[in-house]
């Protein structure tokens, strides 16, 4: 008999070593998240997955799941916080969805729509972030970087290359590449690297395939992210269904 906790009234079974978010996703319950990726150790930087555990807020991706916890997730108070966090991410970078190759496949955009972010909320910072087009096959558009470190983690943990890292501190924090020239062409990145596949926004792009899939027919154009995020969830235990009905029925 496994331990379990309560998530918005539902009973969630805990597997050894799972965090709250992992256990919830495994059990077919969606908690909004952005910097979490099932193949990597939880990171806890975007804070979108903030829930209330026994009345106290915590990032669910890093919070170890414990028996008997009471977790609140889909409540207006938390969704309001998440909206503000998404607004902050939009304001600190340069995000122009209509002209972005990632539009419709972008997790940040999808979360914005799903959470009901209708305005910028904050004054845009318009940071100066030149693109790196030096590589013959790959474009880096730093304007859209949300500093989730997924490419950093993928490149070092999976590819064994450390092509990416974060530089600077505070609001000046930014993505850099592993070359004395500072240019992607002088790194060992390759098209089949894991780091090429994990960017949730439109920073790391393969050249010459732009807009080959029309906007309107892309992943999150079909169904909201809350109804799809469970597709990427960690391997399910046999008795649990692949998707929860509640999420499927969400608008």
């Amino acid at each position: 008999m496994n331990d379990s906790f309560q998530l918005d009234g539902a009973e969630i079974t805990i597997e050894e070593g799972q965090t709250v978010l992992q256990a919830a996703l495994t059990a077919g319950h969606y908690i909004p998240h952005l910097c979490y990726h099932p193949e990597f150790k939880p990171h806890g930087s975007c804070k979108l997955c903030t829930v209330k555990v026994n009345g106290r807020t915590a990032a669910s991706c890093t919070m170890p799941a414990e028996a008997g916890m009471t977790v609140e997730n889909n409540i207006e108070e938390l969704n309001a916080l998440r909206r503000t966090l998404v607004q902050m991410l939009f304001a600190e970078g340069n995000h122009f969805c209509p002209s972005c190759e990632k539009s419709g496949n972008c997790v940040l955009q999808a979360l914005g729509y799903d959470l009901g972010v209708h305005s910028a909320g904050f004054r845009h910072l318009y940071p100066d972030r030149p693109v790196d087009a030096s590589h013959p096959e790959i474009l880096l558009d730093f304007n859209r970087c949300i500093l989730c470190e997924l490419c950093v983690r993928a490149s070092s943990e999976v590819d064994g290359k450390s092509v990416f890292a974060l530089s600077g501190r505070g609001i000046t924090k930014h993505l850099i590449v592993n070359a004395e020239s500072g240019l992607l062409k002088d790194t060992s990145i390759a098209l089949d690297d894991k780091a090429m596949q994990v960017c949730p926004v439109g920073v790391i792009l393969k050249k010459r395939i732009g807009f080959s899939q029309p906007i309107g027919e892309r992943r999150y154009d079909q169904r909201p992210i809350s109804a799809q995020a469970l597709d990427d969830a960690p391997p399910h235990t046999p008795e649990v269904g692949s998707n929860c009905d509640v999420c499927e029925d969400a608008p």
Binding site: S45, M88, R123, A165, R169, G170
Partner: protein, 612 residues
């Protein structure tokens, strides 16, 4: 090293010639090619070259067998390290509110003018850069600055003039007048800690008779609580560490005294270093550690050599090293690691990351350092003052110790008094002292407010001066900044908000973006464009930061504004427009350039009020 390097600077030729290679080899060898020493290696490279040349990064990346991007990533995190040439003389004015109240802004302007350089930029000839830095821990003798990492205090127009001249003449720092670098202790009141008569080793002798477990029992009985601000029970921390099995246990002394307005650790490390190291050795005996680290904030770089001398002396007297005081198997030694300008490294898990040669980003907790600390091994991290108190508690006996102070706050506390008073400095009181009493002792008059425990603490107004320092009422890390009735508390809060934005590590979204947005809002109010809407925004930001931030920095970033809003509302009201909302964008201000170009400033060149 770089092909287009300027000539005329003392480190002009930076091509990676044999001398450079030799120099870099000496540095990495000294650190046994150990990547956990990366920050120390970078600090030493910068001390050689004045910055960290890109070629040196590639070279040490190869030697340490780590990607160069990791080195760049670490170096760029610390504000004292530079990846581009930053001037042969790097001047940083301490920018705490107490420095400002003593005229630091004007002094900085004066120096910029004298040396023809803009703040934050390097002069055309590569001679000098001038900028501000967070509080350097010299508030009792400010205004203060750092020149190439060394502290100079008691700045005046004359002294700044002299320094400017020395820089212009390229006089090496070693030949500058000695008295520029004199740092006073300014101790004004002594109790059990500052008045102690212990000799090195006294408490260790008592402790050896007790043995590890009994030491922890005694510390628990003494009810000693951490002096860094959070007040965690020290005995409980030591016990948890001792009870965790691991390959090795570690003791870390947190001497990253970064909270603006705090300087008591500076004094302890200057004149009571033996007591600090004795406390670390005591902790090592209690938890079973063989290795200790003292993490010294970069601003106290000048203390490094004196502290090493004390360590050497303790080794000679068998108070460190193998079989301490003849006790078989009691081996312990201490290494000093330097910080490099990052307030966040005062947070214990960020400090450990920094100690491991990484960016000082706070870890996800749990697990806590007592079980997974330095190199994922059980580690106790204690404040400088806490370790001194542990020595006192063992030496005088737990019950005697506990009889001093109040019920929940045993012992005494060092208070760093600065700001508007004639006798700033260090005051030691048993816990439970009232704010009024401290104000009387330091001679403060017409006091409007006191900021307790720095920007992340609380602002106490006149009607609350009978409140007491201690965990029951006002917990404090020791900062006590006094503001008299000539001071504008809005400007105090704005200074603190700038501090948090500058020191945010940038890991989590709310703190990285939120502290900046808070800063922009305060600047908007300061510029006379604030409205009620902006005050609501501050409250909204506070809620987001409080509930979602990764660590205490983000959670306390709004405190200065909320506390001053509560007590000093008129300071804000006077600045607000009688509108409900005004955009951050200043329409009329945007025309300033056009007015300048056309040489017009008449009414027709301005927008009419109803158009704005």
């Amino acid at each position: 090293m770089v092909s287009n390097t300027r000539v005329n600077t003392s480190h002009a030729d930076l091509s990676l010639d044999q001398a450079d290679v030799k120099q870099l080899d000496i540095i990495v060898q000294r650190h046994s090619y150990d990547a956990t020493h990366l920050l120390q290696i970078l600090i030493e490279i910068q001390e050689c070259y004045g910055y960290i040349p890109p070629e040196s990064i590639s070279y040490i990346a190869e030697k340490l067998d780590i990607p160069r991007v990791r080195i760049e990533s670490v170096a760029s995190f610390y504000s004292f390290l530079h990846l581009q040439p930053h001037g042969d003389f790097r001047v940083l004015f301490s920018d705490n509110i107490t420095d400002r109240m003593l005229g630091s802004s004007e002094l900085m302007q004066q120096m910029c003018h004298q040396l023809w350089v803009q703040p934050g930029k390097v002069s055309e000839d590569g001679l000098v850069s001038i900028n501000t830095t967070s509080c350097t821990g010299m508030c009792d003798q400010g205004p203060a600055m750092l020149v190439n990492g060394l502290a100079i205090t008691r700045l005046s127009h004359q002294r700044v003039q002299e320094i400017g001249q020395l820089i212009r003449n390229r006089t090496p720092l070693a030949k500058w007048p000695n008295n520029f670098f004199r740092i006073e202790d300014n101790i004004h009141r002594k109790e059990m800690l500052l008045g102690n008569q212990l000799l090195p080793g006294d408490a260790l002798h008592s402790a050896l008779k007790l043995g590890g477990e009994n030491i922890i029992d005694a510390i628990k009985t003494s009810s000693l609580r951490g002096r860094g601000g959070a007040g965690f029970p020290t005995g409980q921390k030591w016990e948890a560490c001792r009870n965790t099995t691991g390959e090795a246990h570690y003791v870390v002394c947190n001497a990253d005294e970064g909270e603006p307005g705090t300087f008591k650790d500076r004094v302890l490390l200057t004149s009571y270093a033996d007591l600090v190291f004795e406390g670390m050795t005591l902790a090592a005996l209690a938890v079973g550690a063989k290795q200790g680290f003292l993490y010294l904030r970069g601003e106290y770089r000048y203390l490094l050599e004196p502290l090493r001398t004390v360590l050497e002396c303790r080794r000679e007297n068998n108070l460190l090293g193998k079989n301490i005081l003849g006790k078989n198997g009691f081996d312990f030694d201490i290494a000093i690691h330097l910080g490099a300008g990052a307030y966040i490294c005062g947070e214990e898990s960020a400090l450990i990351e920094s100690l491991e040669g990484k960016r000082g980003v706070p870890r996800n907790r749990p697990p806590f350092p007592v079980t997974h600390g330095y190199l994922q091994q059980p580690t106790v991290v204690d404040n400088v003052e806490t370790l001194c108190h542990a020595v006192l508690a063992i030496h005088m006996g737990a019950e005697n110790y506990k009889s001093i102070g109040t019920e929940k706050s045993s012992g005494s506390k060092l208070i760093s008094v600065s700001g508007d008073c004639p006798r700033p400095g260090i005051y030691e009181y048993p816990f439970g002292v009232s704010i009024r009493e401290v104000l009387n002792d330091c001679g403060a008059v017409n006091t409007r407010a006191v900021q307790i425990s720095g920007p992340s603490g609380i602002c106490v107004a006149k009607h609350e001066f009978d409140r007491k320092l201690g965990f029951e009422d006002l917990p404090t890390a020791g900062a006590f900044m006094v503001f008299d009735d000539s001071r504008d508390l809005f400007e105090v809060a704005r200074n603190f908000v700038h501090f948090f934005a500058h020191e945010s590590c940038g890991f989590c979204t709310p703190c990285r973006a939120g502290t900046l947005m808070l800063k922009q809002t305060m600047d908007k109010i300061a510029a006379g464009h604030g409205t009620k809407h902006d005050l609501n925004e501050v409250e909204n930001l506070d809620h987001v930061l409080q509930t979602t931030s990764h660590c205490g920095l983000g959670r306390s970033a709004c405190n200065p504004v909320l506390h001053t809003l509560k007590h000093f509302h008129p300071s804000y009201e006077n600045r607000l427009k009688s509108l409900d909302f005004e955009p951050a964008f200043d329409l009329d201000g945007a025309l300033a350039r056009a007015r300048q170009m056309t040489g017009r400033d008449d009414a027709g060149a301005h927008l009419k009020p109803e158009e704005i």
